[in-house]
Symmetry: D2
Subunit: 363 residues, 4 copies
């Protein structure tokens, strides 16, 4: 299942070391201005090799729009986008064909499919997310027309946790996040996070973390009871990101230890509108958005590829084996997962706003 969405649908394809990666966006309203530069800008945010806390693989990730856009505007036809892979080096992966790498998808995919493209993780590689980010560039443009914006940032890396500040005005937020290499909101925490990543890398180890995503401007009434709840759609979306191991909304897992009187968000009038005083619900009640900011957090496990020696098995000899994974890997997935979380959340929003009839089929 490489297609996502009901009315605004995205299909991604491509392997890490194949000729190219890409996507097809189907169902985007017609008559919307979009340029190749706008897509490129989003792709540049997740591009590897941009700082010393990410992989050193060099890809220019230049996108080509092959269909669905004419005279600078969408036509309602599927938008096919293509990014060629340039800097793939498969040599390092050959030794792992019969020695599954702990924490990786190698063995599970192999048990499922029998035959897999093992080069650079194949389709299980984070490189697959290029297609999602390109597709989300279209979704973001669409959302911006309706004043909706999803903003993600690194909330935690290793043990370094930054303070929650989701009341900051939207404009300032993105500047803050883009001002550091780990995509944190809090400059001080960013320093600690960078240091922690470098230290882990030095030890041949890796770190995980938490990405928080806030959505500003989402109208009330999004989400479909019972099985298409906004929380279900968003959870499925972010759990499809490589290395994601958990997701929570608003107070999330903390709500489990709260009493009803602590957790319930009381209603107040504010500027003629009903709002909640707190936002423990994370903007979603009974699966439906209530007009407050949507807040969700995604837990990412540490990068599976590490230089440290690990125990595994040799599937050929049937004996234990040890491996140490050299290569150009992100010592922490979080900084590059930030734009991907933002992308997946944006795709869900565009789709749900169409399903709800708020975004029309033609602008």
């Amino acid at each position: 299942m490489n297609t996502f969405g009901t009315l605004f649908r995205v299909t991604t394809w491509g392997e890490s070391h194949g000729p190219a990666v890409g996507c097809v966006v189907d169902g985007c309203p017609s008559n919307m201005g979009i340029s190749v530069e706008e897509v490129q800008r989003e792709l540049d945010k997740r591009r590897p090799g941009q700082s010393d806390v990410t992989t050193q693989r060099r890809e220019d990730d230049a996108v080509e729009i092959l269909s669905g856009v004419f005279e600078g505007k969408t036509t309602g036809s599927p938008i096919s986008m293509l990014v060629r892979n340039r800097d793939a080096d498969s040599s390092k992966y050959r030794e792992f064909i019969n020695k599954p790498r702990p924490g990786h998808a190698d063995l599970a995919w192999r048990m499922k499919f029998g035959h897999v493209d093992w080069r650079g993780g194949g389709r299980a590689s984070a490189r697959e997310t290029v297609g999602r980010v390109a597709a989300a560039a279209v979704a973001k443009k669409l959302l911006s027309r309706f004043d909706v914006q999803a903003i993600a940032y690194a909330r935690q890396i290793g043990d370094i946790r930054s303070e929650e500040t989701f009341d900051t005005p939207v404009k300032g937020l993105t500047d803050l996040i883009d001002s550091n290499s780990v995509k944190a909101l809090d400059a001080e925490a960013a320093h600690g996070m960078e240091a922690a990543i470098k230290e882990a890398a030095r030890q041949g180890d890796s770190l995980g973390g938490i990405v928080e995503c806030m959505v500003f401007g989402a109208p009330a009434g999004l989400g479909e009871p019972v099985f298409g709840k906004m929380s279900s759609e968003l959870a499925a979306a972010v759990m499809s990101i490589p290395a994601a191991k958990g997701v929570e909304f608003g107070a999330g897992f903390q709500a489990a230890s709260m009493t009803g009187s602590q957790d319930n968000d009381e209603y107040v009038f504010e500027g003629g509108k009903v709002r909640t005083r707190t936002n423990n619900a994370g903007g979603i009640q009974g699966g439906i958005t209530n007009g407050m900011p949507i807040v969700l957090r995604v837990a990412f496990k540490p990068t599976a590829s590490i230089r440290k020696r690990q125990r595994t098995v040799d599937l050929k000899t049937g004996k234990p084996a040890y491996i140490a994974i050299e290569g150009r890997h992100d010592p922490c997935v979080v900084p590059r997962a930030v734009p991907v979380v933002e992308a997946m959340v944006s795709l869900v929003l565009a789709d749900q706003m169409m399903v709800s009839g708020i975004i029309p089929r033609r602008l």
Copy 2:
């Protein structure tokens, strides 16, 4: 969207205080033995009024099978099941029509639909899960034919957390869980949980908690890359349960603070098979099951309906208001959420085993 699944599909319908609730199960393989008693047994597990820690609403929840089963076996046609509502008392809800109850879906649904059945929470009520549990009775029967079983229990209620023991043999587990009113695995913790719920109820307040679900016997290779990952399917499924605010797999949110060398599950041979020494992945790698037990946890917020006075607004007068919710509510959703988590996980498994071609269309 009240339908769930790809090949094994469930549609639920019904409101808390309407004439009935029910479901249609479509796509169940033909030729499988199933009796009304087997479905009733599962419904009895989530039935209200069974102990003093759950709501005192009295429903016999007697199920009627209206189609799809002939001479004790499934025919491959949709299985329609019906449960009449008997003990509905709508009188208490009238006062809340214009005073949205904090923490409830009232207002969000109203903003979406304009016209809602407010009686007893209508379709947003936990009573809607009757249909899911009836449908899952069919799924569980099917899974049992393939030696797959999902077992859920109360891992945490309020501040009381029980120890994880997912290596206990399957048979013992269900007996332990059924031996206490809160559906905990750990008898000692169960006492504390019961006491905590009673104390919260006494104070006119409520508690949340965490339900853990383990799946034993699930074959390797379930789940579809990229967007149909097992983690995405399961997350969407459990996040559709009323009051769920988060979900995690294996080490989950804890993995965010671990290093790669701590989190990676090393491979070993055991009885001729490749297994992992630890199960931080929770049985899912790269979205695909690896043959280890699937482990997931769902965070539930405290019951929204509490007797304590809460601030809200009067939508008619446009002024602040206060409410105190009397009525027969569960002081903690967790004990009755346990069978629902088990149900949703079972539905996903049955569906994914069919999608993977492991369960045939005809037994």
Copy 3:
């Protein structure tokens, strides 16, 4: 697959001689007035035993609405409807368990499912269409709010063909169709059709025919390129009706023998609007509605159950066998297929108008 539609979704269930038949309508906009009487009126149109050209099975087909409607209006929640089977007589069918009836679905279903409900044709019976007609009553109500109406009639029965008159004003049409037992538009042809059916019945034989359906008021722009063309959606819908063997739009199969200059519908201005002078396209061009009336025809084969002796096989003995099917069967499916064609076309229209964003989620 017993569910139909994308946003306006219908699930039907039930067997001919089971306890009941019914449907669940999911996705109908909220806030729409609908009464049990409105649904009953549509069901009464397809009810058996109404004239001497249809089956003499007696069913009152009283419908019960179990959910989704509150205070006379839809709530946006699934509408579950139930009709009990009263006059089922399964005795006649036992002899055919091992002697498949020519022209029937018996054997094909049995090869697929291994175990089928053979009583009265089970789920393959035309009685299954009760659920469709009940669901379509809701769709028709919705369409009427947008001045869209589908009208079907018997265009041909056996060799008797009536003249096409799709320019008659809508109001008169339904009166004409309801004024005869075969649901023809042309009173003279109706006499011939009735006589032909009675003669076929007298000979222990049966007749087929053609149902034409016209849609008035459908807006331009319905249908999704490429695979969701209006013609694809409608074709799939009507081909799901028991005994349907073909479908055509506008000039249809006749267009195969025409030249481009004969078939092309030239454009003219009429009352400030662009229309086509002819309607060989049947209101659909490139899969998209063009604002002209939609015109389609469905070919129905003769009823498979006939009293005449037919050759078959005895699956138990492995020897040839002969059967003569007694029982209460329609000697011609067409009169009762007319409301079912109308129902399926209405369901497609309601769904596509929602997918196109023309019908909102909330009235």
Copy 4:
């Protein structure tokens, strides 16, 4: 909706005069051998400019496989395929922007989307079918592994109708069909068809026709009751082909004039198997395949683009106008529709054989 299928899914994209056309095949079983040459061979069958009865546009239609195939075998990941457009000449189309061409999709699409790519028909062009044929090359390879083959041919062109001969052995059939420029089965009829096309072209006019498709080797039990009947799936598939105006199965529209005793296919034993003596059902009973050859016919209207003067409107001036369409158009769509019908039928078969659990996820 540019995606087709449930488990074997195809997404096509691309406009006639855009940079490229292509497709993504998702869900094809892993471990199946497939080469770029096998796909190219199928594309060559629908390639334009091959004889004097088709358009003179010159395209080499060289396909590139971008993903999903590794070491000559499928991996279970999406197969992305790309064909660059080379010989597009948009100059001829500019004059029709405001003068909709009778019989074309121009105006309907414009009413739907507001902004369309008008060059060469854009996405409504038959060039879009390149993606379908490439995708079907994969489906055909898969079907061949299970001894299933769909064979289409020109049954009728203009008034020239060829005799039905669907009992001829499969091998001979394709040779006969490929031996003439109109893809007829009957060499004599082929001569008449060619002559008719040339005569229509000489007159600046065009012809329609009927394509018949037979499927040999399809197992019994394919198709899903009630809404996923094999006849519904196939009808939707072929009605999505540009210019298709009708579809029928087995006796089809002729069955409307037959009696039950004429139309019913009697059962006989043949070689230990139950078969039907006749095949009026076209291999489908009650929506389910019965093991007999599937037979369907698709009616195509004449090519809309003709040199003859036609009446239309000028949308800019609001006045009547006349046009004569010069350019490189097929004077009859049938010869090039033959491989497309075969493609769509093959896609349905591959998908349904997976849905039925007959084709596994991994070869």
